[in-house]
């Protein structure tokens, strides 16, 4: 309150003390802070538990027939996977830099960086379209006579990329919205950590798999 009460109606608000990468540090809390909002971490830890169980179940199933799993793994389209990984990593960097730009109040670059992340997200969807359409065509042409399982993560990938696209879009809209009152710090600066976490979390599958 002391910080805000010292700001006059026409003056520029003083910037909060910064740690590395423009992360705002709340007074009295040192460099330690919960990234984004506490609630998002409940969702993320739930997701992490799901991934842990999924990994353990997959590996336990693999033990029953390692030969079949290795044979199936070698039929996967690693090129599509690599392109997806690079697109997700590129979009994560763009969002991280965009969030930093918003925190540092460099409003000129933030929308451009988020738009770049949106382009990468669109590239991911297009890549998935080609990957899955090829698989579906192969399934339609050739009835499943072999025992090779066809694994797909379409719902997971689609929901992740849709959430990432929504995040980028909402940040772009916020950045272009009406100028904030001088005494009220922008919501973009306060909430940006949550968007950063969402986009960082969307990169987890590409890192692990």
């Amino acid at each position: 309150m002391q910080l805000l009460s010292s700001v006059g109606p026409g003056s520029t608000p003083p910037a909060l003390p910064r740690a590395h990468d423009g992360v705002a540090v709340e007074p009295g809390r040192g460099r330690c802070h919960v990234p984004g909002e506490a609630g998002i971490w409940i969702f993320i830890f739930g997701d992490m538990t799901l991934y842990a169980l999924l990994s353990a179940c997959f590996m336990m199933d693999r033990r029953k027939n390692p030969g079949l799993f290795d044979q199936s793994a070698n039929t996967l389209h690693t090129t599509f996977g690599a392109v997806n990984a690079f697109l997700l990593l590129a979009s994560s960097l763009l969002v991280a830099l965009g969030v930093r730009a918003a925190r540092e109040r460099i409003t000129r670059y933030a929308p451009v960086l988020f738009a770049g992340a949106f382009v990468c997200a669109s590239g991911f969807v297009i890549n998935k379209y080609f990957e899955y359409s090829g698989l579906l065509r192969a399934v339609i042409r050739r009835p499943r006579t072999s025992s090779t399982p066809i694994t797909t993560s379409l719902p997971v990938s689609t929901s992740r990329i849709c959430s990432q696209a929504c995040v980028c879009w909402s940040i772009c809209v916020r950045c272009r919205s009406a100028p904030r009152p001088p005494s009220a710090p922008s919501k973009v600066v306060h909430r940006s950590g949550t968007w950063l976490i969402c986009c960082g979390w969307s990169s987890f599958p590409c890192s692990t798999w």
């Binding site: 984004g36 971490w41 991934y51 690079f86």
Partner: protein, 89 residues
């Protein structure tokens, strides 16, 4: 723009790209599941990448110790389980 690019996430991002390219190259040259050492190496690289994304892109390195310890515990536990079951099969 240069000021932004000097962020700590930029070198980490380069490292992640190199690690991804290295994993892809290993898989392309050796296949999947043929050499156990290669598969374990790819798995370890993947979990290092998970740690880097968590610490730098999700800002966990500035997080309270409890949050940080849960995250470290998670990827170490999952990595151990996956690698041990893989080697045992």
């Amino acid at each position: 723009m240069l000021k932004l690019a000097r962020s700590a996430v930029t070198p980490v991002w380069v490292l992640l790209m190199v690690a991804t390219a290295a994993s892809c190259s290993l898989v392309a040259h050796h296949g999947i599941g043929i050499h156990k050492v290669v598969t374990v190496a790819v798995l370890l690289v993947a979990f290092v990448k998970v740690a880097l994304i968590g610490l730098y892109f999700m800002e966990l390195r500035h997080a309270p110790p409890l949050l940080r310890h849960i995250f470290h515990g998670w990827y170490l536990a999952v990595c151990t389980v996956v690698v041990v079951i893989y080697l045992a099969s």
